[in-house]
Symmetry: D2
Subunit: 338 residues, 4 copies
């Protein structure tokens, strides 16, 4: 099939490569002409404007937008200016699912179809394949399914789930039509929310291991502002954290891709010296919490994992100062220095 | 009545003053002779050793130990060397209730009674009275009740609870025999756990108010690592936080002593410039969580308020670094600088 | 001054009474004619339509809307049909502050002013006064200030904050102009968020006290699915919870109006037999979390207190079932019955 | 090598089978003679008392205790009666790491060695191998290493971590000598704490997906006790949860063994009809929180996942009732029925 890709960053470029490898024809565009040139050299048709892009595609057209979240909306509507009825615009970025619903409704006025495709796989997607969570009209999904099948990892990348037999489903191949517009990014949003929670579980657990030798240094250390450790003899450990991450990779209940990555990170940099501990968050974690709150469903873990990222960036400073100020008021406690 | 006080810090000295004001006779001891001299000048009998202290008391003796938590156990047992059957040792500090149970059992071997008295009131107790949560044998509680009644605030310091009538109970006077040994400090422990939660509620809420003008500076600011604020027009506020704390003091649902102190702190230092935000915790908050876990009772709020204090002191640093390291692995995300 | 009140439920009616007591003139309207009749009997001018209400007011008019949150928007706009330039509509209900901003902009097109007034005080406001958090144009605030001053508790209802001297500020009287439209309900929203957190702190703490006798029944009780209690001897308590709530009311750090109410509730119904434990939430707690998330400020405690309410209504059921299903998969664990 | 196994439940029996398959010699004992008979039929040497077991082993003896947590301590000490200096007792169960430290010290008085071996793998361990986290003296670890190597999954069960090359380490084979006594169960404890957090992340996320159609039924439904859903049009989804779990198994960031098990569970029982949602917890999750608190390291996520299990069993009921009671006090709110 033929597909246009708009946005040739890490993700967009790898999608194009994966598609071309499997025989699909790609028309590529980016605001950076070098990025276009690079992929043209690998066999793509490079274009230098959205108008040219529309011109280079056979109808009904299909174009995949893979640009930073803040630019997606404008790009979609700019592109739609050049598209006509029955063409399809795919948003493969990290859009808020509500924007998908609104955009789809607006594009529908001109007969243009919209698909929201949550795409997971990161820098490994080129080889590993991308997991695709798709929202939009069923007949448009069907039209584009050969593209999705190419991009997705394929059934052979994991053993079949016990109880599943017969014909392999789309989900087993690594892509899923989740429902109408918005459904794809909703499922992707929750995927990322879960990802935050899993990451925090590993980080907190490793953090407890890392400090398990506290009894060696704190024995007897205390004052009016510090609780003495009741039993320093039980905190005398000195764990080899890269080895711990490694041993869990085989046979344990926590084995997972995130653990594999943790093990890799700890081999590369056992002291994590390259990091200052300011953890970014990029939207989906927040939207997951908003959805939980609006649905009235508790999400203690997913929310805490988001808030820990806020705290890592110093965002609790005012509250912390106020706590110290209150302690000083009622107990005369001066803040203890670092 | 006659009572000895061991430990003449802020709390111990004020207890002595409050007792003497009401006509009780106090024998006082501290490792610092100046502290003894100061209270002797106010009418107390100063002594310079535990042996002298025991000698200065009429039997059955009663002595109140008010020393830093880490020293209480040793002081109690040292004192017991000089006491005899039917004497009473009171621990008014912030002991772990389990230590009370163990100490009481040990002292009982020699016939010495033990009372654990959780004491709340902070630097305001001299005028405001101290709230007393008491554990120990009922007949010893009764013997010492005149002392407790003097130390406590008295029924007139708050309106009677609707539905309570007739004779005023001990709880309404501000002291309560909560049960056998350990019961006093158990109730005090939970009191402090609740205090942590309430403080965090105020701190978090004020923190959200403090940042409610974020839309003025962040409009349009975003990149691949930052979610743009969807609606900066809704975050254009510039709240006067000292005034907000003040207005809540009258008629609102959150009116409380902690709010009064917050209002005072914000009048003194509206920018909280004197504080760095490193918040200490001193035992009871931790023990509250241990009790919740052992009882199998959820305590999300009390625990989160404790963990926020840990985080304020940088104790999540390892975990935060690991999160950044994982993000780099799967997404190639570099850490964003402050 | 003259004020119209629309909505004569518990809150609206008490506001009218408090205003009339202080010599203000009230025009009252409610969809329920009985409610109108009752207040007319107390001296208000009763009207039976919004048109009549507009006719009964001198210009520039002022009307306070105090209807359920879901009806406020429609009522405000219906009323505006009968109002003219320079009239004022006050929303005293529990509106989302964003709706205030939007409504104010819309009303401004016709020259009608809008004030958002977060009102706290509950059923006690008639006697205790209401705490008012106010958003809107400064000159309109000034015009209506005599009304706010009457409704608020007054400075004498609490001791002045140390450090405040000289002329008494509006905040000290119990009302505050917090900023432009939306500011009043924003501050009220955070007030309620804090209220949720404080309530949860008390509830969790009392819950731990309530189960502190677990060692008496569970000693030795365990199986492959249950951790035995390591030290049942430390969980042998039987606390008198109404007395504990009472004793904390005087001299303790947690003394607060919510504690007073807790003490009252426990005197009325010591076993809480009248309650099933399904806890409602009515908007502000949710909006507080949304604000924290959008501002990127951690709010572990406020959020957990909201989620606990969701859980109390069974909203974690699906998640809980899934946890049991996972445990069965990896460990063959059957669910343990109640 | 020769090893005795005490306790022939699911885990113990599978360990024996895995050892015998690889040529090791096993002496087996269980309080249930049928369990002994079954494994004897598969080639093990069955014995019917601890004395016989000691007699059947060559010195220095090695015995693995795999009994319910509540019985481990007694079994270890009973066995030690029959053992002599330089023999080894291995605890492969879910012991608290502190008990390991205490037991090892006690056994050392008689020269008997103790190893704590945290064992993960569940019902799949026979085929998949068990992940082993080991604490004890280095020379005893070395003596028994051939047994551990057989039990562990082996390096080939996962791709090598990038950056690891040269000789394969023990961790890469799936077993790790983590440190002195207690270290094995400490690492296993944290493993399970992380497991709780990961499980909760999936459960919460799926729970949000499950309720994402709330807008279809709640449009317009609200009252004074319920916030209306502001935008029901954004909650119109009807997700196929078994398919969602399946699609994430390939190429996504959350791919993991727990996700595989979730997918299996949802194929078996898409409505989770077999489960009531009462989730057990069996010790390690609690101990993980205790360690976090004692170390002063925040663990919001791991703790919340534990508390959610408590709540699932109704353990927040008292707190929830108290919240409803407070709401009734200040707002006159009656509890809303289910």
């Amino acid at each position: 099939m033929q597909l246009a890709m708009i946005g040739l960053g890490r993700m967009g470029a790898n999608l194009v490569r994966r598609l071309m490898r499997d025989g699909h024809e790609c028309v590529v565009y980016d605001v950076n002409p070098e990025a276009v040139k690079a992929l043209a050299a690998e066999g793509a048709v490079g274009v230098h404007s959205l108008a040219d892009l529309a011109g280079a595609l056979r109808t009904p057209r299909a174009a995949w937008v893979m640009v930073p979240a803040g630019l997606t909306g404008q790009t979609v509507f700019d592109l739609a200016e050049h598209f006509e009825a029955d063409d399809v615009i795919i948003d493969g970025g990290n859009s808020y699912y509500r924007d998908d619903i609104d955009r789809a409704a607006k594009l529908a006025e001109g007969g243009v179809h919209y698909m929201d495709v949550g795409t997971s796989g990161g820098v490994f997607g080129l080889e590993r394949g991308f997991c695709l969570m798709i929202g939009g009209e069923p007949q448009i999904f069907s039209r584009l399914e050969p593209l999705f099948e190419t991009i997705a990892p394929g059934v052979e990348t994991a053993p079949r789930t016990p109880g599943r037999s017969g014909e392999v489903t789309q989900a087993e191949k690594g892509y899923l039509h989740c429902g109408p517009n918005g459904a794809g990014h909703f499922v992707k949003m929750i995927h990322n929310g879960i990802e935050y929670g899993m990451m925090a579980a590993f980080a907190e657990g490793m953090g407890i291991l890392e400090k398990a030798g506290i009894g060696r240094s704190q024995a007897g250390q205390h004052d009016a502002e510090t609780t003495p450790l009741a039993h320093p003899e039980y905190y005398q450990f000195d764990f080899d954290l890269p080895a711990v991450a490694e041993v869990w990779r085989r046979g344990s209940v926590v084995s997972s891709w995130l653990l594999d990555l943790t093990a890799t990170a700890l081999v590369e940099d056992p002291e994590l010296a390259a990091f200052s501990g300011r953890v970014s968050d990029s939207g989906e974690g927040r939207w997951t919490v908003l959805a939980a709150v609006e649905e009235g469903v508790p999400a203690h873990v997913l929310t805490a994992s988001l808030y820990e990222r806020f705290s890592s960036r110093g965002e609790s400073l005012y509250a912390d100062k106020l706590l110290s100020a209150m302690r000083k008021q009622f107990g005369g406690h001066a803040e203890k220095k670092a």
